[in-house]
């Protein structure tokens, strides 16, 4: 085989491998992804599956009941809010007024969650 043809074949093989991998990545990530919604978006869309509810923990809404936490999450601008029943590990920085991201699903107007990420206001405080 002459070298230029060989190189062309190699290029085609490499490119198709790259395209294949890229498609796989796109498909896998979209099927594995969970959406992140603000309370206002969650109320509007009413998703059936698990999603991540993000927002601010409403001041004064936090109550501990046995192993569960109950609190409300609202949009950062305060427009909409959803009550949350949470059971699971509570990260250290969790507190009223903090921004959190809770994974779970909507059940009859309540958000039932069992996994939480907090955005702690620590590392680089707002200027």
């Amino acid at each position: 085989m002459d070298p230029s043809r060989k190189r062309k074949i190699r290029l085609v093989v490499a490119l198709s491998a790259a395209v294949l991998l890229a498609t796989a990545l796109v498909v896998v990530s979209f099927s594995a992804g969970t959406s992140q919604l603000l309370p206002s978006e969650a109320l509007a869309q009413k998703p059936d599956d698990r999603f991540e509810l993000g927002g601010t923990v409403v001041d004064g809404s936090l109550e501990e009941r046995g192993d569960r936490l109950e609190f409300e999450i609202q949009d950062p601008n305060g427009s909409a809010q959803i009550p949350v029943v949470y059971s699971g590990a509570v990260p250290d920085p969790f507190r009223e007024g903090r921004e959190v991201l809770v994974k779970g699903e909507l059940e009859e107007g309540q958000f039932v969650g069992n996994d939480m990420t907090t955005k702690c206001p620590s590392k680089f405080t707002a200027e």
Binding site: L25, T34, Q36, D67, V90, D92, L101
Partner: protein, 717 residues
Amino acid sequence: MSSADVGTAALVVGFGTALYAVGAGAYSGLTGRREWAVSARRAIYALLGLLVLAMVLLEAAYIRSDFSFELVAQNSSTDTPTFYKLTAMWSSQAGSLLLWVFLLALFSSAVLFLTRRRLRDITPYATAVLGGVAAFFLFLMLFYASPFATLANAPAEGNGLNPLLRHPAMMFHPPMLYTGYVGFTIPFAFAVGALLKRHTGPEWIRATRRFALVAWTFLGFGILLGSLWSYSELGWGGYWAWDPVENASLMPWLTGTAFIHSIMVQEKRGMLRIWNTSLIVATFMLALLGTFLVRSGILDSIHAFGESTLGKPFLVFIACALVASVALVVSRRNDLRSEARVDALLSREVFFLLNNLVLILICVVIFWGTFFPLISEALTGTEESVGPPFFNGIIAPIALVLVALSALGPLLTWRRNTWKSLRRAFVVPLVVGVAACAALAVFTTAADSLPALAMFSLAAFVLAVVLQELTRGMRARRTMTGESPPIALSRLVGRNRRRYGGYIVHVGIAVLLLGVAGSSSFHDQKDVRLAPGETVKIKDYEVTYREPTVAIEDDRSGTGAPLSFGAVLDVRKGDEHFTMRPARNYYPSQDGRMGPVGRFFGGEATSEVDLRWGLKQDLWLAIQPDLRKLKGPIRRGNDLPERFAGQAIVAVARSYVDDPPPAAFRAIVSPLVVWIWLGGGIVMAGALLALWPSPEARRRRVTSLYAARLGRELSRA
């Protein structure tokens, strides 16, 4: 004039100096006038001096708790322990920028000093690039986040350092990461210089190879320290969460790993030039991106980005640097042609290329996953995120391939291999690997997780390869010199430090990934609520909550927490018997509404994990005390006159111990975690060995200097 004014002045003059270095370096590069290059170099030295001054001033303000400095008031306080006063600087936006540019000036000065008599064509432009990056960071500090901002009314007390950051690893983790990020700026600057001058041979690589390796080592060590911190300080018990900021630090490390491999191909065979320059450009951009991500607030992360104003200028800088670098590489593509072609597929260069592709593939997956919220929002309108299962599922198999390649690479020679030589090289390691696999499958439970079993076997394979290489080299040396085995071995390694250092790094990475595979595949976790006297069983441990503890102004770990509630637990494992003492530290809140007593119980709290290390497995315990019963006593304490607050706090705290409610515990048994840290240690040792100049190289340098001088004198005569 206050010391803050002096600091600001140092930054202003530093900004001017950096810009001067850009101008002088570029002018020298264009005209070839040496004196301007010398002047630009000295400007970088001067910049280092100014930044040392600024660092000293700021640290001094932290030590004497000068709250007229905004930064000091924000994240330090008089009751912060001195050690953490010193580290508080880089937990702030502005302070960490100062650390970044200080390290940059330090590295730039070092590389320019070392190359002052070499690479005279490339250094002027490289100086200009280094000055330009420094100028950008100084610009940010001067116009967006000044470390020397002052408060007109200095508060009497500062906010204190965030409790989560009070861990010894936090002293070293950020500076190490930054050293890594900054270190990659050096080869990047020289690559740009080489491209501009169209001198794209291996010279710039030889001059900056060590810096790339130093950067790689520090970045890796920094990432590892961050994991250690996460595992032993954060109350969740993991060491890696695929958090955006973690990913951001891993990406440049991966491309940097690819770079330090592929430059060997360019040095030995003159190939992969476009690839190498592209890799170093990518690494530098990813390092900038890493620095940027922590400050931008564009991705959700536990790493807390308060929204900040730095995002925009940073993004503009990254975009400009990226466009300029890509344009430069494209415009020089003709100068970057390979000198040689691939002779055979079974050759070391091909396997290096494969290893590069695998590393880049991992990097692309991580990049995609990290930015998936932005990508999905742009494509579908809703923000979606992918979690650890996505990353683990894709990256685990690729990592297996990577470890296999790291074992194969050293066995192949450059250019081409014969089947006979391959058989000779592979038989023993392959047998060892298969034997290890069989033994593990028969005698242990490793076969329950196939990826883990594969990783264990591959680690055995890598170890066998390296041991075989060492014994072969030693034998060959002994036949030639007749030395005794230990001397032959140490001389062999000493004379080929780069090579054997690299092999040791391979062993370290295999050991590290063995730890990762073991701990992620065979991890046991229990979240339970226990009253004193109750017992929980986890794997072969029986953990009994003996009694609650309280420490008032007596925090064991020295973080300065006034209150700490914990527990003493008796652990029994067969005949073995020991106690563990996890605790939770409470830091006073600044919120006045909680009352003088209540604020000591309602503030930030952090887990003080107790860990029982073991070569086979770790037992990890954290406690979350239930303080709800203290509400009544706290309210009564708040109603007392303020001067009794101290006694009231003690009384409230004691009441918890006297009548303890059940507390929530998290117990984790994680096998082989220790091997992650041990593997990291092996990697560091190997990297240091590779970095250490060999005696012969030193001798060569002296001889070549002598030869050059002789040549000059002869030509004069």
